[in-house]
Amino acid sequence: MSRTALLLLADGRFPAGGHAHSGGMEAAVASGSVHDTAGLEAFCRGRLHTAGLTAAGLAAAAATGHDPLALDEAADTRTPAPALRRVARRLGRQLMRAARATWPSTELDHLAHHRPQGAHQPVVLGVTARAAGLTPLDAAHAAAYDSVGGPATAAVRLLSLDPFEATAVLARLAEECDTVAGAAARAAERVAVEGVTVLPAASAPLLDITGEQHAARPVRLFAS
């Protein structure tokens, strides 16, 4: 594997559309539940262990080469909120574009062909990692980090938080990101034999509810 390929894939500047999404942070700020650095850390920790773990499992499983269409269905099952399904597919479609340009592969072409409107982003992330020569554990790391990196950047913009403090939050979460990625990758190893039901299915009901509410807001900075 190339460690640099992982850095490239996980870089916030990777042009896959993520900059327009806050991962639920804007809704959390609007409701007043996040208003400072401590709130940011609590939010990110919660998202990491729920939506982040689930996404990491799907990404790792896709990176093993398991059928991405079955995983896309598994992702739908794990995403009850229609607004968040739409967001996941939109981000998946945008990542697909960047991925095919960056690491052309027949497996990416196959998934794009069967899901022209976009597969769930974590599934595309896993297939992309595979195309980049990365391991399932790498894919899980990228997904876990993505689940907290986006909200942290959004919080800096939404609350004018000190960017150094926001970055320090991510550094403090690094070990937990590693733990989540490890658990996700271990589950993914079992998918080939035991099926997709062994993948994590942790959910964050409040993120689902506020995600729906956010989608209906007429004035917002972030798409989700």
Binding site: R13, H19, A20, H21, Q94, M96, R97, A98, R157, A223
Partner: protein, 231 residues
């Protein structure tokens, strides 16, 4: 005549703006409209739609910063049927969405082409930004930068990538010059100095046919596009 690489890049059609459709015909010309907040980008796009909609198949993508105000304005003014206007959200960073990470805009453009069939022209309006905002060549074929007289007659002198490099510079709201103490001759001289041979247009959209210089330019670009001269 634009010549492609002898060997077509693999999967090229999947990411940026290939000039041809899969059947070999030229796809719609994509024109970007950038410029500071309030300079008249939406008014310019609306006026262009009204002038061109009877002879061309058009669509518009707007990039609003925190609302769908621009798209809503265009729909309310009924410059085009609502299905021909799409809004992209930019996450507090309008320049990122047109330059560094163009994926949401490309997606919007392709969705319009898919839903509406072959189009002649797609206008992509950026969110109001600063003087450094320019469009990626992966998103648009040619770009217009719109500034206005009322924001200060020193803006052409200040320059910046939008003013110096845009394919057309529009200096809008010339009718306001006497009220804001703007010297149009100075603005014209500074514009020429900054842009060399690149075209520019001074417009007042409150007068009948005030959009004419921009319409003429768009028509020329479209003819060049179909002749295969550009892109």
């Amino acid at each position: 005549m634009h010549l492609d690489h002898p060997v077509t890049l693999p999967h090229r059609h999947t990411h940026s703006a290939d000039a041809r459709r899969p059947d070999g015909s030229r796809r719609a010309l994509r024109i970007g409209f950038g410029g500071p907040v309030g300079s008249g980008k939406t008014a310019t796009v609306a006026a262009l739609c009204r002038t061109l909609r009877d002879r061309l198949s058009l669509a518009v993508v707007t990039n609003d910063i925190y609302t769908q105000e621009d798209a809503a304005f265009l729909r309310r003014e009924a410059v085009l049927p609502p299905e021909r206007i799409t809004a992209v959200e930019t996450g507090a960073c309008p320049h990122t969405a047109i330059r560094d990470d163009i994926s949401a805009n490309l997606e919007a453009v392709e969705q319009l082409e898919q839903d509406l069939g072959p189009l002649d022209l797609i206008l992509i309006e950026s969110g109001g930004d600063n003087l450094t905002a320019t469009f990626s060549r992966g998103l648009v074929d040619t770009q217009v930068f719109v500034i206005d007289v009322a924001s200060g007659d020193d803006i052409p002198r200040k320059g910046g990538p939008g003013i110096t490099t845009a394919d057309l510079l529009v200096v809008n709201k010339t009718d306001l010059a006497p009220y804001v103490g703007a010297d149009l001759d100075t603005m014209r001289a500074d514009t020429r100095r900054q842009r060399g041979d690149l075209p520019y247009a001074f417009t007042s959209l409150t007068t009948a046919d005030g959009i004419r210089p921009v319409t003429d330019w768009v028509t020329e670009r479209l003819a060049a596009w179909h002749a295969g001269v550009t892109g």
